[in-house]
Amino acid sequence: MTGWLGPEEWQAVALSLRVAFWATLFSLPIGIFVALALARCSFPGKQLLNGLVHLPLILPPVVTGYLLLLTFGTRGPVGGLLADLGIVFAFRWTGAALAAGVMAFPLMVRAIRLSIEAVDVKLEQASATLGAPPVWVFLTVTLPMALPGIVAGTILAFAKAMGEFGATITFVSNIPGQTRTIPSAIYAFLQVPGGEGSAMKLVVVSVVIAMGALLLSEVIARRVAARVGGA
């Protein structure tokens, strides 16, 4: 792999995988929690939360990136506080992960929410009458039955995080080895004469990873669905 990919290209691929991995890992529990709140709870401000979650999907990515920069930059309100704790997002790979996570979040929540809504409330009631407290109803009935959707949402979010460009480049720029993910690298290669070859290799890698993720999600979802569906 490293033989075929130059060190610069390999760096971009490895960084993208790392960024997408952490972005997905951190957004998964939050995504499940938010999806559960949107699917099963009623509380004041529910529509506001729903809108907020979906905002990155409809805003221009550059706007999302700029808002992240204003909020999480070293002089931003949240970024400043976190910087005192030693957590820095600006112009680091962690910032790229944050941007990717935020952009992928709506897709993840949407898939998980739909799968939670598809779980029959009657089964949750049955679980409660058998003595299960609410947390256990969720862990033993809702979560396993929503698993196909959670898997699909996670893989979709991972693929989206791999390909995130606009918000990332606005928030954390395009620094080799730090924030130059595959899309940023392709963009950078296309800016210099003779970079088309490297760009093409990264395009191939992108397609392979995206297709692989899609197939994997199909296989896992089908297996889980068979388990959940009985037989």
């Binding site: 679980s127 003595g131 033993t140």
Partner: protein
């Protein structure tokens, strides 16, 4: 003794029901829309009524005046739902064990092996609910409720989704539950024959109100209480198997009066309860001779209730118990029937369906 009193309003429907369920099997009996399932859900805690009290001894599930509203998972009620509601992602064994994971350690528990034997589900344990038939699912659902160490078993029309053959398969398990398990059972049904076979106590509901409650024979023998309609009227008699005859008939002893039924599987001496549908009973002032019907019960008319159509329900007290007859008002007049008059109730042997004959008292 479970005591329930509830008041709740939905759009266009108001429920105001109070009843007591002594030990044994209490059937909430009424047509669909009479509020039975609402009561069941309130007992289970799946519905919070506006006002009410549900308690059994010092165990209070709900008391709105005292601000007590126990959460469903703390109520320890084994709820058997109409559609089973087995967990599709768990095996039968895991479904059965589910309630045990949450029951208090000190709670008296049924033994898994005993319940599996009682319900005949030993061969199904490793399967998933998706691979079970309707009757098998419902047996597993019964087992799951039993094994959650419940203080009360609640069954909401557990047979309604099954065909006749499956009903006949499951009914005996509820009889065994009633006779062999000491947990009180609250059973919701609109089926007269289920009530007749299972009920120790009947609570009859109409339009959100309790119209009668008491021992099964008493409530079902009251022509004023027909929660399922006059067509479904029928009283229950208890009798013992006397002997089996070679021609396929079983002779019963109903307090001294012989009754002939199509072959019953129970051995001589066994107690049976038989539902005699009111529309299967003929009346005669004189003791009939030269008649094909084998069962003739002499008695006296207790009450006559004209129905809305041309029919009337006549209640007759016999030595074997109360019998209801559904006849036309014209016949009632022609026979000069009135309370105190001696009549003979005539029941054809073949008109007693096997599904109307149950074990136990």
């Amino acid at each position: 003794m479970l005591e329930v009193s509830l008041r709740h309003r939905f759009d266009g429907f108001s429920l105001e029901a109070g009843f007591r369920a002594p030990p044994g099997l209490t059937v909430l009996f009424g047509r669909s829309g009479s509020g039975k399932t609402t009561v069941a859900n309130a007992v289970a805690g799946l519905l919070m009524p506006e006002e009410g009290r549900i308690a059994s001894g010092d165990w209070t599930l709900l008391d709105t005046s005292a601000g007590v509203r126990m959460k469903p998972h703390r109520r320890r009620i084994g709820y058997i739902f109409q559609e089973g509601r087995l967990f599709p992602h768990l095996s039968v064994r895991q479904n059965l064990a589910y309630g045990g994971w949450f029951a208090p350690r000190v709670a008296p528990r049924e033994d898994m092996g005993r319940v599996v034997d009682l319900l005949g589900i030993g061969a199904l344990l490793e399967r998933r609910p998706g691979a079970l038939s309707g009757g098998e699912k419902q047996r597993v659902a019964i087992g799951r409720a039993l094994l959650s160490a419940p203080r009360l078993i609640l069954a909401d029309e557990p047979l309604a989704a099954l065909d006749e053959a499956r009903k006949a398969e499951i009914l005996p398990y509820f009889e065994r539950l009633r006779d062999e398990v000491s947990i009180p059972i609250l059973y919701v049904s609109h089926s007269a024959s289920e009530v007749a076979r299972l009920a120790t106590t009947v609570v009859a509901m109409e339009k959100g109100r309790v119209v009668a409650q008491g021992p099964a024979a008493e409530v079902l023998g009251d022509p004023a209480v027909l929660p399922a309609g006059a067509r479904e009227a029928g009283a229950i008699l208890t009798a013992h198997v006397a002997r089996h005859h070679d021609d396929g008939l079983t002779e019963l002893d109903a307090s001294g009066i012989p009754l002939f039924l199509p072959q019953v599987a129970s051995p001589p001496g066994a107690a049976l309860r038989i539902r005699i549908a009111a529309h299967d009973v003929m009346l005669s002032r004189d003791r009939p001779y030269g008649i094909s019907a084998l069962n003739i019960l002499p008695g006296t008319v207790r009450e006559i209730r004209p129905g809305e159509g041309p029919g009337a329900i006549v209640a007759i007290d016999t030595a074997s118990g109360r019998v209801l007859a559904r006849i036309t008002r014209r016949s009632a007049q022609a026979l000069h029937l009135e309370p105190g008059v001696a009549v003979h109730a005539i029941v054809k042997t073949v008109s007693v369906a096997p599904s109307d004959i149950g074990g136990g008292t």
